[in-house]
Symmetry: C2
Subunit: 657 residues, 2 copies
């Protein structure tokens, strides 16, 4: 089959804008937009449900360009469909500072960009979270309010990244039938033919993890439409549509080669491509007949949206649904947390902060039906479960617990998708050391400023015998280095409650670094002030003390013991707990000066490396912590072996006085 | 079929030692050693080729316990086989500080531990590197010198991690027929049944990436032996042996459940297991009949080894093979590098440091036949290729270039395997921002102190239009945070040559952070001293300057320009280039003091975040660099936008004076 003239015109409008924008920017990736223009045309003009005039419509279908380098495919389409903020000037300003049309799609820059993509595999991995959120919210609120699909366009790169296996095996297991992935099967990567580096039978691979598969010619719009409709009919499996395409379709010399992937075509090749495609109009000037057809397609779902609005207005759960999708917490949340903190002040529990986290979650999960819990197969170590959290499975869409399996990276990426979809607040656990496995997803949580909460237990050598492969040493510093990320390391149950409250209230992702070992209560008075909110505060000791000792998490108790020992020697010391360096950095100069003080001796103690402390310690400060990888042994022996003890803190103080 | 009494006795010796060691340590993982004892027994007593008396024999088969938590399986076997350093006291000291028997197998602790495992999937991913090294060295030196297999024991966790897909798809593509993976198919993970989180048809999955597959009962030793021999007969495919096992085999109540995975059995269950298994001897006391049989099996390959020695002695390539396996560089390497540096001093090329890296590699790859180059599908961006580097493929085992595909994580892990195997020095490229994707492997390079070189180009916002997803900001700090890792950021072609020389000479892994953009030559005089070896040095300016400006990589030229502008204002400044903070930290106090100096103004400029500079800057220093994620735009506009300019450096200096 071949496309009609009109079908070609619509697709060529994408190709034309994409070629021209890349050429004007003298930078970018024309190959994918040219190769996938037919797919995008069918998706956006015939299959998908959305409304450019109401781009945040909760029940819209989502489109995720996992192969984010092909951003002009998306920008061209959004312009053609009539998204108001995607003007032709934005298209012309492709890849310029301040434009909405960044090199890769950046969430928040323009409506219609559902997630930030570019690091390969991430969009595909996000999409599982989108589909989970849809399935869960549909179960909670009913299919008349929530009933949409998640479409992904993924390239060979996405499928070669390891995270893709985590994503597709989880999606297959969960039977996420409303997830539809179109694979831009062009057999080209940057270094040449896919067959240089990979011989995977992708169809067999997807079947092996429970997917429905369809193979088509990605330039046959009727075949594309049929495949998408067949995919939508799947009731128990996600679908892979393997669409055979030609990268740089239309380029006379470069089509079908890596040369068209990531560089402008160049004047001659561009002219040749336009001639071959029958594009006769000037750069950036789409003829009105074509533009009108696109714009009309953009209004296609307005009736559906209107009917949906009416159904929502009539629905008894309307207010709750609206609140949930807005991301606002219920008004009584703070009260619930304060009641819990009051109880903690009475009980003074000596528990591991991972256990304190579970205790806080028992309050949170009761107060907030929107939490979506989970763990990467370490539930009883991370203590991320509560009585509310029955598993989310194919046969229980009301479940609130994601059994992510041993897929830390997908957990992070799926949580990004859940958060971006809206209506749910995801948190998920693994060991702190495995933040390394999830790091690319954590970075995207931070870049997109999504409320995703990483519950990272076993946060130091304090985990003991599992040894250096499992002991975080550099991780607190490495995570504090990521912009927009809140890294919390609470000292006891009270601080853990406060940090959880802050994580829930934040417009950023958060890491909760939690101990395996028990920690004594160091905060035993109730206050309705969230002391952790300032990032650091004086826990005990006089303002004019001879020494100030900074500590976080499990080392706060060491600082408190050192303070006692110093006091016995006639040296006064102040202990400052630092649950979050990021929040402390945001405080006023006067507050910071007050907390830092002017004591002669300044010591920080943390069972990690020094690097993130140097700013705070300055020239005179000393650090007690790790200077190497850890070791396998019982916890007490390890702290002694690595010299992270009250005695070491006392010595560091007295050496300065 | 059932095992003979002797077969059972041999396997039960592993079970007994493993149960007892975990019980004594009151910590550890008995489930895997009990479940896989039959597999290990067959592997070590019947199939594998090795010599405990010569544990470093170059042509030994390698065994990799990818499911590293089952470390007692390995320690028990090494003791039973008669490895001298694995005494019964070491077994008794399981998981204690200073023992060779850490919680997870740590490379370097005991002979017979071929790689550090524990972070799931890494061993499997390493194994591909081992098998590549074997195939390549066999092609170079002949099958009479190099002809061995790589055996892997992997669990469900290893197979669920994304890196496993990168590993097996690469291995299948490369037709690494001497790689044999045994999957401990026990259907249990920490959170319960595998079916809670995964429904993958693993056989179909491995077939889809070109593997031979065999399914067996993992407790039938004859079936295990037959499967392993069948696998060895494979000529064009790696083999997966799916071995159905019972986790904690023999434990009366806990066998087949997650309860036996990661905790001691407890007295009653332990006694019950021993009774069920027919183990009547005391803890840690293997009866001599059983021990003798094991020890005899340990000597099984001595003749083979003797014959191999004789062949090696008679081989014309003996000296080169021995040198290569020792890891020593040829004597004339330094000379070659100095000749090249002399040429650079004449040519003063203005090139990107990624290009300078390629120029250095043209010298290195000619001088060192042992380099194994590669890139994760960014060859022409990373410039990791030279005329010598034809691709290593199934039909070209002499190739020196790994087309890793879009598999950054596997690239790192495979390079670890190549380095551990010996005989080759691996280096591989991707974009600096994707160190995040490879981070768990980079950490293991560092923990194992392996000479693995990461060529990380596009190292800052200087990459321009690709935008924040591709622009490293926090990465230099996050990498500097990892112990044992050398992070180099050279300023020009001369420093790039020096850093490459240092990386080749190092006993640690190295990151080379390289620019996309051209950089002027700042080092234009020849010196046979490797100035970068001290980590930081005065590039220009008087010792008693008013100000000192520290910079790395692409920002050194900015510092030089600032120095010129300051000079025009009558302010003298000294510029210090800091190619490696780690090496600078190792210098004498006097050298450090000399380089730091006592100037009133101290400024550092680097197109990354501040954190890793605070120690050096101290209280008075100022930092010019990044304070957020980057943006999409042309390079000059970005440097201006983020204020990383000579003007900003000048202002930071004058503000302090």
């Amino acid at each position: 089959m071949t496309n009609t003239a009109q079908q070609n015109d619509l697709a060529n409008a994408i190709r034309s804008l994409s070629m021209d924008a890349v050429e004007k920017a003298n930078s970018g990736h024309p190959g994918l937009p040219m190769g996938c223009a037919d797919i995008a045309t069918v998706l956006f003009t015939k299959v998908m449900k959305f409304d450019p005039a109401n781009p945040h419509w909760a029940d819209r279908d989502r489109f995720i360009l996992s192969a984010g380098h092909g951003s002009m495919l998306l920008y061209s389409s959004l312009y053609l469909l009539g998204y108001e903020d995607m003007t032709i000037d934005q298209v012309k300003n492709f890849r310029q500072i301040g434009s909405k049309t960044a090199g890769h799609p950046e969430f928040g820059h323009a409506t219609g960009i559902e997630t930030t993509t570019g690091p390969l595999g991430q969009g595909l991995a996000n999409s599982v979270g989108f589909a989970v959120a849809e399935a869960k919210l549909a179960a909670e609120f009913g299919a008349d309010i929530v009933d949409h699909h998640t479409y992904v366009l993924a390239g060979d790169g996405c499928l070669m990244e390891g995270i893709s296996q985590e994503a597709i095996s989880l999606a297959g297991h969960l039977k996420l039938n409303k997830l539809i992935v179109i694979w831009d099967n062009n057999n080209i990567t940057i270094d040449g033919k896919v067959s240089n580096a990979d011989s995977t039978d992708q169809i067999a691979r997807f079947k092996a993890v429970g997917w429905n598969t369809i193979e088509i010619d990605g330039h046959d719009q009727d075949a594309i439409e049929k495949a998408l409709n067949d995919a939508k009919a799947s009731t128990d499996k996600p679908t892979l549509i393997a669409a055979k395409t030609t990268i740089g379709f239309g380029a006379p010399k470069k089509a079908g080669t890596e040369k068209v992937h990531g560089a402008p075509l160049g004047g001659e090749e561009l002219a040749g491509a336009k001639a071959a495609l029958g594009i006769t109009y000037p750069a950036f000037e789409i003829p009105s007949a074509i533009l009108d057809t696109w714009r009309a397609a953009g209004t296609r779902s307005q009736n559906l949206r209107g009917e949906w609005e009416a159904r929502l207005q009539a629905n008894g759960k309307k207010d709750e649904f609206t609140r949930r999708m807005s991301g606002k917490l219920p008004a009584d949340f703070t009260q619930a947390m304060n009641d819990y903190k009051r109880k903690l002040a009475e009980d003074k529990p000596k528990v591991a902060s991972r256990k304190a986290s579970q205790m806080a979650l028992e309050v949170i999960n009761k107060a907030l039906p929107e939490t979506l819990a989970g763990s990467a197969d370490l539930t009883h170590s991370n203590l991320t479960n509560t009585p509310e959290t029955l598993p989310f499975q194919a046969d229980n869409r009301l479940g609130r617990y994601m059994m992510y399996g041993i897929r830390e990276h997908e957990m992070g990426a799926a949580m990004n998708g859940v958060a971006l979809h809206g209506g749910l607040i995801p948190y998920g656990g693994t060991f702190m050391v495995f933040t390394d496995y999830a790091r690319p997803a954590i970075r995207l949580s931070a870049l997109m400023e999504q409320r995703v909460i990483y519950v990272m237990t076993h946060d130091s050598i304090g985990l003991g015998e599992d040894g250096p492969t499992h002991q975080p040493v550099e991780h607190l510093t490495a995570l504090r280095a990521i912009p927009n990320l809140l890294v919390f390391r609470p000292a006891d149950a009270m601080e853990t409650a406060e940090c959880w409250e802050l994580a829930m209230q934040a417009q950023h992702p958060a890491i909760l670094a939690l101990s395996r070992q028990n920690l004594p209560a160091v905060r035993t008075e109730f206050s309705d002030e969230n002391k952790s909110a300032k990032g650091a505060y004086t826990l005990l000791g006089p303002a004019d003390a001879d020494a100030v000792i900074f500590a976080t998490g499990s080392e706060v108790a060491i600082a408190v013991e050192a303070q006692k020992q110093l006091s016995a020697q006639g040296i006064s010391a102040r202990v400052v707990s630092v649950p979050s360096m990021e929040l402390f950095a945001k405080q006023s100069d006067s507050y910071r000066a007050e907390v830092l003080g002017s004591a002669k001796a300044r010591v920080a103690v943390e069972a990690g490396i020094e690097m993130s402390w140097n700013k705070l310690l300055g020239d005179r400060g000393r650090f007690v912590g790790m200077h190497s990888f850890g070791a396998s042994g019982p916890i007490d022996a390890l702290y002694e072996h690595f010299g992270i003890t009250p005695k070491a803190v006392v010595e560091a103080v007295t050496a300065q006085l």
